[in-house]
């Protein structure tokens, strides 16, 4: 118990604690949004549009419809975190599975997973894939999660595949087999933990990409369904008045940057935590 605590303490620097605090705060606030800011994020008040931050009653100002930006940021956090996390999770699970199976079994399995699924998906320009699926199924957060899950899965598959190829040749995998591990055990309990480090790093990158893509799709008009608040959508619409009203783009952008930074730091922490060999300051 004590050693475990010590390891956690070892993996967390001040900055990483701050990142954790930020993410937790975000999660709590987004869940409690209606209580913290009892303003309907959809309520329009066109007369009071584009108020700057600090305007009375609107801590972070209002947007082009006079909707409260703070309420939209907090309510958007739920959507955003859901999309970013959901999409990354779907991609990570799907991709890791493909990569593991392809790398571990090789041969036909490899052809099916890595070539037929992963390479084919990769060969499609992501924008087109997103465009097509969103057009067919209509925009919305669940479509986005599915789209991005599919879109980012091959990235995971590639990484996991490469790692699996080298890990499966290591003797401890043979050892597991020799000591009676079933194939699934060898795959998920022995190989998988040894390929997690890059998965975690990739996960944090993909979360960033998901937020970015969400905002890119919003820019192209294919993001979250219109009135619902999302950060990407806010950035996309803020870009239009960037010259005149910088705050409309700055506020959501800053939140996005800090969120991505925090997730990156947390990913590093998690990776260190899971790697028994990692310790503070062991650099070349």
């Amino acid at each position: 118990m004590l050693t475990r605590f010590r390891r956690i303490a070892g993996a967390f620097t001040v900055v990483r604690w701050a990142a954790l605090a930020f993410v937790l705060l975000l999660v709590v606030l987004s869940v409690l949004a209606p209580i913290v800011v009892p303003v309907d994020p959809l309520a329009q008040d066109v007369a009071n549009r584009l108020l700057p931050p600090g305007a009375p009653g609107h801590l972070l100002g209002t947007d082009e419809y006079g909707r409260d930006v703070l309420a939209r940021i907090l309510n958007g956090a739920r959507v955003e975190l859901l999309i970013a996390f959901g999409a990354s999770a779907v991609a990570a699970v799907l991709g890791s599975l493909l990569g593991l199976v392809g790398g571990y079994f090789g041969g036909v399995a490899e052809f099916l997973t890595m070539r037929l699924v992963s390479d084919v998906l990769l060969a499609f320009p992501p924008v087109i894939l997103a465009l097509l699926i969103v057009t067919i199924y209509g925009p919305g957060e669940w479509t986005l999660i599915a789209v991005m899950g599919i879109l980012f899965a091959p990235g995971f598959a590639r990484i996991v595949y490469g790692q699996t190829l080298s890990v499966k040749r290591l003797e401890y995998v043979d050892a597991a087999k020799a000591f009676g591990a079933r194939t699934s055990t060898a795959l998920f309990r022995v190989v998988l933990p040894n390929v997690t480090a890059p998965i975690i790093v990739q996960f944090s990158l993909v979360m960033a990409s998901a937020i970015l893509l969400e905002s890119g799709l919003s820019y192209l008009g294919l993001g979250v369904v219109a009135p619902a608040p999302s950060w990407g959508g806010m950035v996309a619409s803020g870009q239009r008045y960037m010259g005149n009203d910088p705050s409309t783009i700055l506020v959501p952008s800053i939140v996005v940057v800090f969120t991505i930074l925090s997730f990156g730091l947390l990913a590093d922490a998690l990776r260190d935590l899971l790697d028994p060999r990692a310790r503070k300051g062991s650099h070349a």
Partner: protein
């Protein structure tokens, strides 16, 4: 530009025009959107056109004569030629007009052209057009820039009409980047054209287009995005030229559901705060309207016609209750995410409808999908943006009589259509006035559509550009005509 015999003394004049998109291949009569109208106005000419003040003027026709309201005689200018040197005769006029009249060719001006029964060509310079019924505005239709006269080779569905009788010719086509136009010396009024060439540079992105003008990369841009109006207005050396043109409206699916009931439609007409649309979707650069727009200069303008409804949510609620929906209902609004202002309009409408108890969900796919849904009636409410071909109320007839895609789905009211037809065919101004005013009154109660705003349509150009003008109202898209008299002043 290789052909510059006229302007021997003056330096080469090239206008760089930041165009809001790459025009499609020019097809005779086809509606190809604003970039298409502009290109047509540059390389082609019809019998009629508009001058800098938006006045209807003869173009290829030297003059015309209304023999009776269903028969027009046009006299062509002398020695007309297409840009490839072939002569332009009344035969070309006849063939082109008959081509436009064929519904299968989908001409933009079909509403008027389909009435053509016969075109007589007594001589090379005379064309007499016979219509099946009176049409007071027929000549205005001929000024539509898509109604240009084309050589016979271009008169087929898959031909590209690059040879024209307009002031400019396409000299170079850098697909995806720009079209370089040079002055057409075969143009009947070539001497009056001062620009030696026009570079039509394509800037599909509004911000990029604005930036190009501000940074001096281009001299003129069309379709200024609304959020940039104020930026450009305050930019030194740039002129903003705004005209309230196309209108945004709400259209209905009247085949079933609540909106089959005119009372509910009327409730919607009273429920929407047009000023919010003006502000939120167009940044104040639009005009709130409470009736189908008719220019004040028109004979048929009346104040009442522009005040069919007002913003009165209470009254809207009463109407709803009367229609049997005291607690409102749920519905959907079809709009498109591809055009921000469509979606923004829908958003404010959505908020206003919520106020009177109508809970509308937004359906915002891309334009092509929206079009398919509109065609098949897969919607309840939809946001549309459109403009008439002519400024007279006659446009309402082609609008309301047009395909379902472009109006309320399933809407058909013989009474209104009859009144509009009477307006068009009326023998004199007074009888037309009466007919139109009846039609407009009927529109007020039947509510085939809810006009919301007439959006500001802006060109912006450097102060050095002179002679260009944004034509008023629906004519804004034909502003390309004025490039024939545009010049760039030194400095």
């Amino acid at each position: 530009a290789s052909s510059t015999p006229n302007s021997s003394a003056a330096p080469e004049q090239t206008l760089r025009f930041g165009l809001s998109g790459e025009p499609q291949d020019v097809k005779v009569g086809a509606d190809q959107g604003s970039t298409g109208y502009t290109l047509d106005a540059l390389i082609h000419r019809g019998l009629m056109a508009y001058d800098v003040d938006g006045e209807l003027v003869p173009a290829l026709a030297e003059s015309f004569e209304e023999i009776d309201p269903a028969t027009y005689s046009f006299t062509l200018r002398e020695g007309l030629e297409f840009s490839d040197g072939t002569p332009l005769t009344s035969a070309n006029v006849k063939n082109t007009l008959l081509f436009l009249a064929d519904p299968a060719n989908g001409a933009r001006t079909l509403a008027a052209m389909r009435n053509i029964t016969e075109v007589e060509t007594p001589d090379e310079r005379t064309a007499i057009v016979h219509l099946s019924e009176n049409n007071a505005d027929f000549v205005s239709y001929l000024a539509d820039s898509t109604a240009f006269i084309a050589p016979d080779e271009a008169l087929s569905a898959d031909a590209v009409a690059t040879v024209g009788a307009g002031p400019f010719v396409i000299e170079q086509d850098d697909a995806g980047v720009q079209l370089v136009l040079a002055r057409n010396d075969a143009y009947y009024d070539a001497d009056a054209v001062t620009l030696d060439s026009i570079d039509l540079v394509f800037y599909p992105d509004g911000t990029a287009r604005t930036n190009a003008l501000v940074s001096g990369d281009v001299d003129l841009i069309d379709y200024v995005p609304w959020e940039q109006f104020s930026t450009l207005e305050s930019t030194d050396g740039v002129t903003m030229d705004v005209q309230n043109g196309l209108l945004m409206d709400i259209e209905f699916n009247v085949t079933d559901g609540p909106f089959a009931d005119p009372l509910v439609r009327e409730a919607v007409a009273y429920a929407v705060n047009r000023d919010s649309v003006v502000d939120a979707a167009f940044f104040g650069n639009a005009k709130a309207i409470y009736g189908p727009p008719i220019p004040e200069s028109s004979d048929y303008y009346t104040d009442e016609s522009q005040e069919l409804w007002e913003y009165d949510p209470e009254h809207a609620k009463e109407l709803l209750a009367e229609a049997g929906y005291p607690d409102g209902f749920s519905t959907t609004i079809l709009t498109t995410s591809q055009y921000v202002f469509h979606q923004d309009t829908a958003l404010t409408v959505q908020a206003d409808l919520a106020e009177i108890g109508i809970d509308a969900e937004l359906d915002s796919p891309d334009w092509a999908t929206r079009m398919e849904k509109a065609t098949s009636g897969d919607f309840q409410l939809k946001i549309n943006g459109w403009g008439g071909i002519v400024s007279e109320p006659a446009y309402l007839e082609s609008y309301l009589g047009g395909p379902d895609l472009a109006k309320s789905f399933g809407w058909n009211d013989p009474e209104i259509m009859a009144a509009l037809a009477a307006g068009r065919t009326g023998a004199d101004v007074e009888s037309r006035k009466a007919a139109y005013s009846e039609a407009i009154d009927l529109i007020g109660t039947n509510v085939p559509f809810v006009p919301l705003v007439q959006r500001g349509q802006a060109f912006a150009y450097k102060d050095s550009v002179t002679g260009f003008s944004n034509l008023p109202g629906f004519l804004t898209f034909f502003s390309g005509y004025t490039l024939a008299s545009t010049s760039i002043s030194a400095g």
